[in-house]
Symmetry: C2
Subunit: 320 residues, 2 copies
């Protein structure tokens, strides 16, 4: 059976999996990204694991797709990723190509998610849409006219690094006020910590020490009706809604899909985001743009990364 | 001789001209947009003038290109343009097609400028760039992968309506804090009026009554060394530089071209814009994106609008 490998490198965890042409995940493993002190360690771990499972299951590896923060489609490198353990430029596609001798495609994790959505998810048949990944950071994969928007240098779609606050929170990229410092799993935790310094309101988040608060705790508390946690989500949604309205003024997608850890907040986040979004939209776009959750099943990140490789294979066949 | 007509409808003036296939303007006329109380008046005036000049000069009209604020390429209509005398939806392409029986293309004025720049200006051979028009409002024409970014509904590229200030200045679109309320000919005049209320600093702008101040007066004063006027331009450039850096994070162009009335401020505006732009850029893009003035000669707006029609003709021939 033909398979493509998907590698989704996140700021927190990396997932490695094998995905069939119909989008089924045949095998999957996860490890903390920071457990790989050097990219060579990641390469060795992944290639060993892939060789073993491919031989055991008698599969044929047709390609590898890698989604990574600050991944550059044109160069196949991770370049100066703010939230990653490896500084500088990492030519990861070349490294994997050298080790496995199959086509390797790399782009940022959000572009991979967008291609996954287009191949296997809720964006089938759509030509203008965006996928927003709400994980450790905030990523965006933008599709216009049926093609991923890569820009002149392969780095288009860094919505998380749009500056929304003058002299705002310090970002991993070294600047201040980037959207992802407010709207991401890390961002909402930062908001919680800032507010807990000054707020007298009772909240279940006060029952744990501040270092232990994570975004899951916040979204769980909000779902359980904790008013403080709900305000945190509302504040995050307000900033997200405005940023998405501003994105629409630039690329005018028909759909925006939310994806990743923070999207687990579900309807509380979605309803507030939609409400602020519509309020902030230019009249021309009113009521025309749908915000939805990703239509990909669990392990969506790996499916997206593998879809990269499947997409490249199909593009090659259609060029012949 | 074959010609295309270009009609550039601006918030203040409308230009109508005839442009040859090499981008030469053969004939041109200008009138205040508000002198046409209804779009039917504009249609009648333009078609009468075109018929007369075409017959006199023995030209062959091959098409009409119209650039207009909130112009929708897909529908050929002006839809709810904030700065225009005609409310609602104006099916201007259909109206001109009915009257002149030639192909008619309509898009927003900034997209027209972008196509003009690609055909006849400084963007020849570029695949990823943006043109920013700084007139009564702020428009943007974004080209990605060699194609104008129209979005799902024809309304992509409304950078002037990105909200940059929470509860900021009231915009013609009915919302508050849009970029163009700060960065445009109107925006800089508004800043001047706000500051003059509170500023003790001497400035030549105090020698005229506030209602008479326009952006040309401000840029002329700045060029003559008026410190207050220079601060006005600097403030405008700061907002523009940040907005352009944020645009780069989304579409990653190689070049951004400034065009329109306010661009006449020249180096004072350009140097400050570039400086704030580089300061605000994500590290990945540093030093890679050039900001330049438009490479189109005078009457660039009409050339851009006519280029729309020439572009459409070429696309049709290559499809055959």
């Amino acid at each position: 059976m033909d398979v493509c490998a998907g590698i989704d490198i996140g700021g927190t965890n990396t997932e490695l999996g094998l995905v069939s042409a119909d989008g089924s995940v045949l095998w999957l493993t996860t490890f903390p990204t920071r457990s790989m002190a050097k990219p060579e360690m990641l390469l060795g771990f992944c290639t060993d694991a892939l060789r073993k499972i491919i031989s055991e299951k008698k599969l044929v590896l047709k390609g590898i797709g890698i989604g990574a923060p600050s991944g550059n489609y044109y160069t196949g490198s991770i370049e100066h990723a703010p939230n990653m353990p490896w500084p500088g430029i990492i030519p990861l596609a070349d490294m994997f190509r050298g080790a496995m001798d199959v086509p390797v495609v790399l782009t940022n994790d959000a572009n991979a998610a967008a291609i996954g959505e287009m191949f296997f998810g809720a964006a089938k048949g759509l030509r203008d849409f965006a996928v927003i990944t709400l994980g450790t950071g905030l990523g965006s994969g933008i599709v216009t006219g049926g093609e991923v928007l890569y820009g002149h240098d392969g780095f288009a779609g860094e919505l998380g690094h749009v500056i929304i606050e003058h002299e705002g929170r310090l970002c991993g990229c070294g600047r201040r006020g980037c959207l992802e410092t407010y709207v991401s799993a890390t961002g909402i935790v930062n908001t919680a910590k800032e507010w807990l310094e000054f707020e007298g309101e009772p909240t279940t988040l006060k029952t744990v020490s501040q270092e232990k608060i994570d975004s899951i705790m916040i979204t769980d508390a909000a779902k359980a009706g904790d008013a403080f946690a709900m305000r945190l989500i509302n504040y995050t949604a307000e900033k997200l809604g405005l940023a998405l309205a501003n994105l629409v003024a630039i690329t005018s997608p028909s759909h925006i899909f939310l994806y990743g850890g923070l999207a687990n907040a579900g309807d509380i986040l979605m309803n507030a985001t939609r409400s602020y979004f519509e309020k902030s939209l230019l009249k021309n776009y009113a009521g025309k743009v749908k915000i939805e959750f990703s239509g990909l099943p669990g392990n969506a990140a790996v499916i997206g990364a593998a879809a990269l490789a499947w997409n490249e294979k199909r593009a090659q066949s259609s060029n012949r």
